[in-house]
């Protein structure tokens, strides 16, 4: 979680309240559609451009699909040390399907349909010694081991 010794990989995508992490998205004030990340307006044509307001999402969901990336992405992705890792799509109860790195299990050990839980984990340590955090999903504890 963000402390003076950690920073988010990008500001405004997640936060921690009372020790609990959540993704920060938006909810249409007209039709209730949820979005991630935050956005200004709803894209449901029925809403005719209605506004969307910030909202916290998750932290639980269900794994919709996953893959393991075997080759190192371009340098903008600063994961260090680098090793093949899983990326998944997680269905949140708010109706948003979110893409995220997966953690909490070996890369090829994930299962579609598993309950998942949001975690904020370091991608790397920056030049100032701070952990750079990103959002990930892990299998819910009672479902592993």
């Amino acid at each position: 979680m963000p402390t003076p010794t950690s920073i988010p990989v990008v500001d405004g995508l997640f936060d921690v309240q009372d020790g609990a992490p959540a993704l920060v998205g938006a909810k249409c004030t007209a039709c209730g559609t949820h979005y991630f990340p935050r956005r200004a307006r709803c894209s449901n044509p029925a809403c005719n451009g209605a506004e969307a307001a910030p909202v916290r999402l998750g932290p639980r969901g269900v794994l919709y699909s996953w893959s393991v990336q075997a080759y190192r992405p371009p340098p903008l992705f600063g994961m260090d040390p680098w090793a093949p890792y899983a990326i998944g799509l997680v269905d949140l109860p708010e109706g948003v399907r979110v893409m995220a790195m997966l953690t909490g299990a070996p890369p090829e050990a994930f299962q579609i349909g598993s309950p998942m839980q949001l975690r904020l984990e370091p991608l790397r340590v920056d030049a100032d010694g701070r952990e750079v955090l990103t959002w990930k999903f892990a299998p819910v504890a009672e479902h592993v081991a």
């Binding site: 990008v10 600063g78 994961m79 109706g95 948003v96 399907r97 995220a100």
Partner: protein, 396 residues
């Protein structure tokens, strides 16, 4: 709207051509299409370019203008259209409208591309912008393009029981078709075992199950029926042409977004499904009338999923169709007789035009080595960045 016909088609082979500037690839392809039609540059009444961001176009996406300034300053109307990988299909659509609306008698569409190596990067000069999902997908999770297809492929295995062997068989089919296509970059046959032995790039997808990036160029010349008859070219009509964008609730996770808001019952890859439906409706045809399809096989997943999406078989039935030879050249529904993206490698803006060239060669009976017997109706379907879809239906 008056009917539109294919007057000529032409292409530059796909591959890597470090010594050939983008505009020269474009001139080669359009020159070939002009010769095919029996026309000269000065016969063009309009020019539409599928606009690339990788090279050429005077640095500002003005590829049609650069081509005219290089070869023939005709003063004709031009259009430079974006649309990511769908730009070639969109360009054919715009060109058809030029003819159909009466604005000109003969017009051309061209797409030519020299791609950077490796994973397709962000556009040149892009700033790091936290509101840009293309920035977010890279910086926060390093999601390469193949991961997007891999997520679909894994889900299909879950929903329909598709096996890794079936995915591999889709690659085998594409490569077998390409053996007969001198324009393709990869023309060697391969086996399921060889595909399965190729390195995993993004599980469950392997190197031979994903399209590479290539250089290439293709051009299509369209015109009125009277122009076609005057030139004496085989009569191939552009019976349907449509473009579309994504619909709200579409469950597809689009490159480069990092989320979706799926709505129950909403169509997947709706930009392509909608474009295809509109093109078929315009042609007054149904899936059962189509003799072959050229679809955008960025990966083997599309070879199975898209024929279902386009209505050529029921959801989940494509595996059986593929493994029983029904997607073969002599099958019930031939898929990508050209060899597809998997055999060409993707040259983004050129790809949608190459599809239409292949349809024309097939309907004329000129697809030596890969001919679909008795082909009378061909359809293309292509997807581009930004939720762009396009579909062209040709009829002989």
């Amino acid at each position: 709207m008056r009917p539109v016909y294919v007057l000529g088609v032409g292409a530059h082979p796909w591959g890597k051509f470090p010594e050939t500037p983008q505009v020269q690839l474009a001139a080669h392809a359009l020159g070939a299409a002009l010769r095919d039609a029996g026309l000269g540059w000065r016969d063009l009444g309009g020019l539409v370019a599928a606009s690339s961001r990788f090279e050429g176009g005077l640095g500002w996406g003005l590829h049609a203008n650069e081509l005219l300034q290089s070869v023939a300053e005709l003063g004709i109307p031009t259009l430079n259209v974006g649309g990511g990988c769908a730009a070639g299909g969109i360009a054919v659509h715009s060109t058809a409208l030029m003819i159909a609306s009466g604005q000109c008698e003969i017009a051309a569409a061209v797409g030519a591309e020299r791609m950077p190596k490796g994973f397709i990067p962000r556009p040149p000069g892009t700033k790091d912008d936290p509101t840009d999902s293309d920035y977010l997908r890279w910086v926060a999770m390093g999601a390469t393009n193949p991961v997007y297809w891999a997520l679909e492929a894994r889900r299909r295995m879950h929903e329909f029981g598709t096996t890794e062997e079936t995915y591999a068989a889709a690659s085998v089919l594409m490569h077998r078709n390409a053996v007969g296509n001198p324009l393709a970059r990869y023309r060697a046959e391969c086996t399921v075992a060889e595909v399965l032995a190729s390195p995993v790039v993004a599980s469950p997808l392997r190197l031979l199950e994903l399209c590479a990036v290539s250089d290439g160029a293709a051009a299509v010349i369209l015109g009125t029926e009277s122009a076609a008859r005057r030139l004496g070219v085989p009569l191939v009509r552009v019976a349907g042409y449509a473009t579309a964008t994504g619909s709200f609730g579409d469950p597809a996770t689009r490159i480069p977004t990092i989320s979706t808001n799926p709505v129950a019952g909403a169509p997947h890859t709706s930009e392509v499904a909608t474009a295809a439906r509109r093109a078929m409706a315009m042609a007054g045809l149904g899936p059962e009338d189509v003799d072959l399809v050229e679809l955008a096989d960025n990966s083997v997943w599309q070879v199975l999923a898209w024929p279902e999406m386009l209505g050529f078989c029921e959801p989940g039935q494509a595996d059986w169709m593929l493994t029983h030879g029904e997607f073969d050249l002599d099958g019930e529904m031939p898929v990508n007789p050209s060899g597809g993206f998997l055999s060409f490698g993707e040259a983004t803006t050129a790809q949608g035009l190459l599809q239409v060239c292949e349809l024309a060669w097939q309907l004329r009976g000129q697809a030596t080595g890969r001919q679909v017997p008795g082909a009378k109706v061909g359809m293309s379907a292509i997807l581009g960045l930004g939720a762009n879809g396009a579909s062209i239906v040709l009829q002989a």
